[in-house]
Symmetry: C2
Subunit: 217 residues, 2 copies
Amino acid sequence: MKKIGVLLSGCGVYDGSEIHEAVITLLAIARKGGKSLCMAPDIDQYHVVNHLTGEAADEKRNVLVESARIARGEIRDLKDIRAADIDALILPGGFGAAKNLSNFAIKGKDADIHPEVHRLITEMTEAKKPVGAICISPVVLAGVLKDRRPEVSIGNDLGTADAIEAMGGGHNVCSVHMIHVDEKNRLVSTPAYMLGPGIAEVAEGIEKLVQQIFKMF
Amino acid sequence: MKKIGVLLSGCGVYDGSEIHEAVITLLAIARKGGKSLCMAPDIDQYHVVNHLTGEAADEKRNVLVESARIARGEIRDLKDIRAADIDALILPGGFGAAKNLSNFAIKGKDADIHPEVHRLITEMTEAKKPVGAICISPVVLAGVLKDRRPEVSIGNDLGTADAIEAMGGGHNVCSVHMIHVDEKNRLVSTPAYMLGPGIAEVAEGIEKLVQQIFKMF
């Protein structure tokens, strides 16, 4: 049974993992007969956003603890996972990818990537294991793999696409129903809620992403 | 386009809505061509559980604010929703149904139901509109509709089944892949994570529940 790492970044689109994208990923993995291994870094969130008002809240939350909500408690500290433990890795989207796994939301093309995120993605690519990135999370791949010109898609947002190119990646326009595949670097991406418009369309792209990863084994 | 109310109770299986069940419900509604209207009561959670350790945390969180994470901010205060606003209502599971929408987790068969939850479910049943209940949330229906002998299933847990019977409901054994339908009261239930074992099996039952509700229009 193939074991797929799912790298979470909190629990909620504005300060963590996009919940629909994460759950649809877990469901698609199970329906392909795979087993998910959820993981997240044990760090404070960049901030906490009240998802009712959209405003920052005066609270502290931990990325691993909040990600555990999506994983129903079955989650590992990212620092304890090696590429040897999994057959593929998938990063759901949500602002957590750009605020917690990296600081792309703050620094754009000059973003720093969390060292453990950098390490695991580098290990996966060196081991030629597939990596999937959903929604905004292809910016993390661009930040880690800049010397390999990773080819990804976040849909059609010009600002983000330009930043990916400036980081050393290649950006490819893609619809929400579709995926972009970088055969050389074994990367798969889909725009999901970078484009929307709704959960059914987003699911179509994510299911194709998971199917593609299973084809790459 | 049919509008389906989705009554949330927080964000996380141990103190709110079970996230997988909620998202799979939203996806199934969209795939049937329906529109979801998420709602939750504007109240403090009974408590906050650290989903990594399983222990209660010294924190306060609000049910509506946390439910907004699952709804991507598109959510209404339960008190503002009437049966006339929706064509059907679905309650995902998670301990939130037994700690926030009711206090079944504390008081068992003597549970109190939150007054606004009681009001909306009563309105729906009086208007002969379908109501779906997933996982543990059939206990809420038993508490509200005790004078109508609601027939539901939470799987095969004897203690919970006995409590439902003691509250005035009827319990029916059902597998995770299946649904139980109460034609008279227009109720549909499925055991989901009351049985598990995983997200794919849970999704099968929830998808059948949503399909059944669309057949009842």
